[in-house]
């Protein structure tokens, strides 16, 4: 190993200087997270103020508190759930993407690229169109979560058998196509005159016409899922060194994997049950935020959840600004931003093997 003289620098880094730099890095991550949180709240408020029925901000804000009159009903039953769900769903997708990328040590992993959201959507469609969702309100999210869990489990088994990056992504593509085909099949069989348009809604995702009930089941499920991901955070940091090294550091790798898989399934499944599959949020957000978080998987989960919330809230505002008639779907906007980004990411990875 090179001697200190050869490097031309002091062999011992002054402790305080070193600590100072490390904490500056962390402070930067925190600053970014706070800025994103402000952005997310800003877009949520904007979303709250947007709608076909022209109401003053004042009427809406008093309406959401007292629930009186037309403004109250619109604010409480329509605008608030939509704005809040955008945050919840974005947080679920962003946090899940960060955790999956950490687990697979791969910047291309995310709930949508790996097909998790597609099978979650399939689960939701099966529950809805065969009348199962009518039996109990928990059945719809349960089916979506089961769908997400199935795919996450398959990917986990593949990665355990040594499947590389390309194999995982291709498996995700295959699973997503299969789930989309089955979704179309299920909708064709169901006695539903609007099958085609419903199908598009599930595949592209939308927050239109969501209710407080949707928020009531999505919020706790997403919160539990994200909390589970947080408990796995340290293990994800250790997995940076590989599985054997992580185990030698006392990390229960099987448990970390299990928590990430279940956490992602809960958060993504609940989000998809409400809004259909919204693509690319889980891919793009963690990737953009990673440099601000010192490339540490553990530090990335919370900022990604906040960033995801900001992105989905912003996209949901954009959808209504571009097409006020409500014909543009949320997933169209995220895919228009995300798909070129995905391609760019692949090209970049090709250059730096």
């Amino acid at each position: 190993m090179r001697t200190a003289a050869a490097t031309g620098t002091e062999p011992r880094v002054d402790d305080t200087v070193a600590l100072g730099r490390a904490s500056i890095g962390e402070a930067r991550g925190t600053r970014v997270a706070v800025a994103l949180a402000a952005l997310a709240l800003g877009f949520a408020c904007w979303s709250f103020l947007l709608g076909p029925y022209d109401l003053s901000p004042r009427a809406l804000f008093t309406g959401v508190l007292d629930g009186q009159g037309v403004a109250g009903v619109i604010a409480q039953q329509i605008r608030f759930p939509r704005a809040a769900l955008a945050l919840v769903i974005g947080a679920a997708l962003g946090g899940s993407g960060a955790a999956l990328q950490g687990l697979f040590c791969n910047p291309l992993a995310s709930p949508d690229v790996t097909g998790v959201t597609s099978t979650a959507g399939l689960g939701a469609v099966l529950a809805l169109y065969f009348g199962l969702a009518a039996i109990h309100p928990a059945i719809l999210p349960a089916f979506a979560i089961a769908g997400a869990l199935a795919t996450a489990g398959i990917l986990y088994l593949l990665s355990r058998r040594g499947a590389g990056v390309v194999a995982l992504i291709l498996a995700g593509v295959a699973i997503a196509s299969f789930a989309t085909a089955l979704t179309a099949l299920a909708l064709s069989f169901s006695a539903n005159p609007y099958a085609m348009s419903e199908m598009v809604l599930w595949m592209m995702g939308s927050l239109k016409d969501r209710t407080l009930d949707d928020l009531a089941y999505a919020l706790p499920l997403v919160a539990v899922g994200l909390a589970l991901l947080m408990t796995a955070a340290r293990g994800l940091d250790a997995l940076t060194l590989g599985e054997d090294a992580a185990k030698s550091l006392g990390v229960d790798v099987a448990s970390v994997r299990g928590r990430v898989i279940v956490g992602v399934a809960l958060a993504t499944g609940a989000a998809t049950a409400v809004a259909g599959s919204i693509g690319f949020v889980g891919l793009v957000v963690p990737h953009l935020l990673r440099p601000f978080c010192g490339y540490r998987p553990a530090q990335l989960i919370v900022p990604s959840a906040i960033g995801g919330a900001a992105l989905v809230a912003a996209a949901d505002v954009a959808v209504r600004l571009i097409a006020p008639d409500g014909q543009l779907l949320l997933g169209v906007v995220t895919a228009m931003l995300g798909a070129p980004f995905f391609l760019w990411l692949i090209l970049k990875m090709k250059r730096e093997p």
Partner: protein, 260 residues
């Protein structure tokens, strides 16, 4: 001296294949033990078995006199540090953050690093001459610099047993010597150091004890002169060595090999 890592008739199987067979070994505190052997002899398997990463088919492994099965996960991680072969940090984290991972066994869940952790990290970096690039990202470092950071990660744990799998691979001669000095220094602090090595001359010259593995069995062990005797080299590796006396009065060096 006392043995802190003990194998008693240990055996490991992959399916039907017996990869380690009837291994009985004692690794002494304060000594550098080199584990050598032809490819596929079971060197890595031996280290992984010592960490409990592989189940034993029979026999026992004792760490600090306690059977491996009785160690709680976290306590074992503080007792035995492991540097896997060809390790890399898969995300381009700061070198200092990578070394901080070595402190995970000492940190309660969700706790931020304490001053003791920071000190241990700085010290480990300095000992590996890696302090100068502590604040740089792993992808900005050369392969040799990354190796030193990863070695510092293993040292930062401060475990009484250090297992390193082929740490000298891909290092140029000067770095190899520096690495062996570091292992020696670590042993002098009372650590039990077990290291697999491909390079027989390096092992013969720098290790206190040598274990020669062949097809999952201990073919020879003891001081380098004994474990790597002409007879053992011929039997296990199928080579004869040219031995060159050290003008400094140290052990003879293995200079070159020919097939026998």
């Amino acid at each position: 001296m006392s043995a802190t890592l003990i194998f008693e008739n240990a055996a490991v199987r992959y399916g039907a294949r017996q990869v380690l067979n009837d291994i009985s070994l004692q690794f002494e505190a304060g000594a550098v033990t080199g584990i050598v052997g032809p490819n596929g002899a079971g060197k890595t398997t031996l280290l992984r078995a010592a960490l409990g990463l592989l189940p034993l088919a029979s026999g026992t492994v004792r760490v600090l006199n306690k059977p491996l099965a009785m160690w709680p996960r976290g306590a074992l991680a503080r007792a035995v540090a492991y540097l896997p072969q060809g390790g890399e940090a898969k995300w381009p984290m700061l070198a200092r953050e990578v070394v901080m991972l070595g402190r995970l066994p000492h940190r309660p869940a969700f706790a931020a690093p304490q001053a003791t952790d920071d000190r241990a990290v700085s010290e480990a970096l300095a000992r590996c001459d890696a302090g100068a690039f502590a604040e740089r990202r792993m992808d900005e470092l050369s392969a040799g610099e990354r190796t030193r950071v990863l070695f510092a990660r293993a040292l930062a744990t401060g475990a009484p047993v250090l297992l390193a799998d082929e740490p000298a691979a891909f290092l140029d001669p000067a770095h190899q010597l520096r690495l062996m000095d570091l292992l020696r220094e670590e042993a002098r602090r009372g650590t039990t150091v077990a290291v697999t090595l491909h390079d027989l001359p390096l092992a013969a010259r720098h290790c206190d004890e040598i274990v020669v593995l062949q097809e999952g069995r201990v073919a020879a062990d003891g001081a380098p002169d004994i474990a790597l005797s002409d007879e053992a080299l011929a039997r296990v590796f199928g080579v004869a060595a040219l031995r060159v006396p050290d003008p400094g009065g140290g052990r003879d060096a293995l200079a070159s090999f020919r097939r026998v």
